[in-house]
């Protein structure tokens, strides 16, 4: 038994190192941050949601319905005159998200027990998972109204009531609005059609960035470990060419594997969601009318954003790889990069960037990998300025990082910088970033 504990102690000492602890701690910090942020966003969602009621009927019932909506946690703004299209456009430009039109003759129709149709406009700016929540708002408004009217019918005890009318006195003609354009269609169906087009991009991008970064950092580390790097550095090869060739090779391999993933993932996702051929003709027409289909310009912008994201990741990986002394240390070096990629991926999935707090918004924008994840959403929302600004930011950052990487390779820092993961006699080991000049632990002969 004693020997068992001797072995157990040794195994634990081997396993509990910074290599294993840092990722766990990082994940803990990131997820608690995410949890808090999402929680705050959800509180925002729980606050009364704004809705503009265009009351063309100006009747007692329509006024009562506004009260019902307030009770059902809506913040109602009532407009009683004007052209509906103009009002919707105005609400959209003022960052509103829902318009309900109560037509003329609404009250009279209900009194005659004729089902009535209202028009609903869902204004979409965000096509992330969080954005979809907005499409459920109208359903909530409608069912609150139906419940009230139903109660009224039942209380009135009028003879010969049609149960179908009692249950669904009000139905809706749904519109979805993007920018200044509105089109008829079921918002949920339209949003899911839009999401299907770009759903695999974040997953593939995440895989590509991680793969390419790991490949390039591992390539530098293994060259250092085998001392082939020293040999290469003493040959007549320009240092810039060395760095660029390494980055390009990793980029090419990553892109080829991305293409393979895309094909596989697309068929997998297709089987989960059901192919888009199942979509109704109205929805297909609507996404075309609203410009929610990626056209050549959209694909080019999206491609550029993804490409820039990969280049930024590669240049960071080159710099991190320069610290690696061997393949083992690559894992720990790449971990922070993985976290930085994972963070915007998760945030943009669960948080509506348009309504996020300024601090969170700028934090997301500052992370270069947020932009490829956000690009598709911005393109669909016709916010091309943000996409282009994101691409410019990513390329600017890439050039700065590439210059730093080239500088490291053109000096002896490439050989003298290192991440030391050696144990210092303690059970946890040491973890210090070293450069010449910082510590005596640099290997010398």
């Amino acid at each position: 038994m004693r020997r068992f504990f001797v072995i157990l102690k040794k195994e634990l000492k081997e396993m509990v190192t910074w290599q294993t602890l840092v990722p766990i701690l990082l994940i803990m910090v990131i997820y608690s941050f995410l949890g808090r942020t999402i929680n705050q966003e959800q509180k925002k969602q729980a606050a009364p949601q704004p809705i503009t009621v265009v009351d063309l009927d100006r009747s007692q019932t329509s006024e009562l319905l506004s009260g019902i909506l307030t009770k059902a946690n809506f913040k109602v703004t009532t407009v009683t005159e004007g052209v509906v299209d103009d009002i919707v456009r105005k609400v959209a430009s003022e960052k509103g998200s829902a318009v309900l039109v109560i037509p003329h003759g609404f009250e009279a129709g209900l009194q005659a027990q004729h089902p009535q149709k209202v028009q609903t406009y869902t204004i979409m700016r965000n096509f992330s998972m969080m954005g979809i929540q907005g499409t459920f708002r109208m359903d909530a408004a409608l069912s609150a109204m139906n419940e009230y009217i139903g109660d009224m019918y039942i209380k009135s005890g009028a003879p010969g009531l049609d149960p179908a009318v009692v249950k669904h006195a009000i139905s809706s003609q749904s519109f979805i609005t993007v920018g200044a354009t509105s089109a008829e269609g079921d918002p949920q169906e339209i949003v899911s059609l839009v999401m299907q087009q770009t759903m695999i991009i974040p997953i593939v991008l995440f895989l590509v960035i991680i793969m390419a970064s790991q490949m390039i950092a591992a390539s530098i580390a293994s060259e250092k470990e085998n001392k082939t790097l020293e040999t290469l550095l003493s040959t007549p090869v320009a240092r810039g060419a060395l760095v660029t060739a390494k980055m390009m090779a990793s980029g090419i391999v990553a892109l080829v594997s991305a293409a393979a993933y895309m094909v596989g993932m697309k068929s997998y996702m297709g089987s989960l969601i059901g192919s888009s051929t199942g979509a109704s003709a109205t929805a297909v027409q609507a996404i075309q009318k609203l410009g929610l289909v990626l056209d050549l310009r959209g694909y080019i912008l999206l491609g550029l954003s993804v490409f820039a994201g990969i280049m930024v990741a590669l240049s960071i990986a080159v710099i991190l790889g320069a610290f690696a002394e061997d393949l083992k240390s690559v894992q720990i070096l790449i971990m922070p990069l993985m976290m930085v990629v994972l963070l915007p991926y998760l945030i943009t999935m669960f948080i509506d960037i348009n309504t996020a707090s300024p601090v969170l918004k700028w934090l997301i924008y500052a992370i270069p990998f947020s932009h490829p994840f956000l690009a598709a959403q911005f393109i669909f929302a016709h916010n091309f300025t943000m996409v282009i600004a994101g691409i410019i930011y990513q390329f600017a950052l890439f050039f700065v990082l590439a210059a730093v990487a080239a500088r490291i390779f053109s000096t002896d820092r490439i050989l003298t910088m290192k991440l030391n993961t050696a144990r210092r006699g303690s059970s946890l080991g040491g973890w210090t970033l070293q450069r010449e000049g910082i510590s005596l632990r640099i290997r010398r002969k």
Binding site: K227, D412, T416, E436, S439
Partner: protein, 241 residues
């Protein structure tokens, strides 16, 4: 005649630690010059500076008149460097590796072929050159790398611990290869802590310890000067003084 290498008052610090305290020596064309000393003496640092991959803190090193800092790119055209216990790309075949390195040094295909042929002859690996380097023994890899280092007819070859970790037969093969190739006028700067090897190989020797050169001379000259039977005893006496 212009010297192959002139090192003057070379210093190199890693932060507060000074690895080289200002060393000076010269190597003539066709000469095999060895730095001998224990691990951590500063041999590899010196070799790396001459190979243009480390920058000196102060002092100069000139290869055929070219400064290691200002003319690094030109120096890389005429030198070759073989690090201690260096590996090669394991997925390449021996021939593939030689071809890759030949392409880095020459753009002319005929010259590349000549380099590969010369290296193939020197390695003595024959048909095994067509196998993946991953399948080679340590000695075979070292022979391949050494042949690579001399195939381009460098004016100065910098070789760190030529035979460390090799068995006696492989070590002798490597030493003979170095000897043969210097007959063509190539200068060699090498380092070793194997004094017997140095005695066999070198024309002149510098005794290095703790970043300082304590004495320079021919192996015989040093043995005579200190009245010792071999370089090991000379080294111990010099360092203890």
């Amino acid at each position: 005649m212009e010297q192959a290498l002139v090192v003057e008052n070379l210093k190199k610090s890693y932060g507060k630690f000074e690895a080289l305290h200002g060393i000076s020596f010269e190597v003539a064309p066709g000469e095999i010059f060895a730095l001998i000393g224990p691990n951590g003496a500063g041999k590899t640092t010196t070799l790396r500076i001459v190979a243009t991959i480390l920058q000196p803190t102060s002092g100069t090193a000139r290869v055929y008149g070219m400064d290691v800092q200002k003319d690094a790119a030109r120096i890389r055209e005429v030198i070759s460097y073989l690090p201690e216990e260096a590996g090669a790309y394991k997925n390449l075949t021996g021939l593939g590796y030689l071809s890759f390195m030949a392409e880095l040094f020459a753009s002319d295909v005929t010259v590349q072929r000549e380099y590969i042929q010369r290296a193939s002859d020197i390695t003595g690996l024959g048909e095994r050159l067509r196998d993946r380097i991953g399948t080679y023994s340590k000695g075979m890899t070292r022979k391949l790398l050494l042949s690579r280092a001399v195939m381009t007819h460098p004016k100065l070859a910098i070789i760190d611990e030529p035979t460390s970790g090799l068995d006696v037969v492989a070590a002798i093969d490597i030493r003979e290869s170095i000897r043969r190739t210097t007959a063509e006028g190539m200068a060699v700067l090498l380092s070793s802590h194997n004094m017997l090897e140095i005695e066999y190989l070198s024309d002149r020797v510098a005794i290095v310890d703790k970043g300082t050169i304590h004495d320079v001379g021919t192996p015989q000259g040093l043995k005579d000067k200190y009245g010792k039977a071999n370089l090991e005893e000379v080294f111990v006496q010099v360092v203890r003084q």
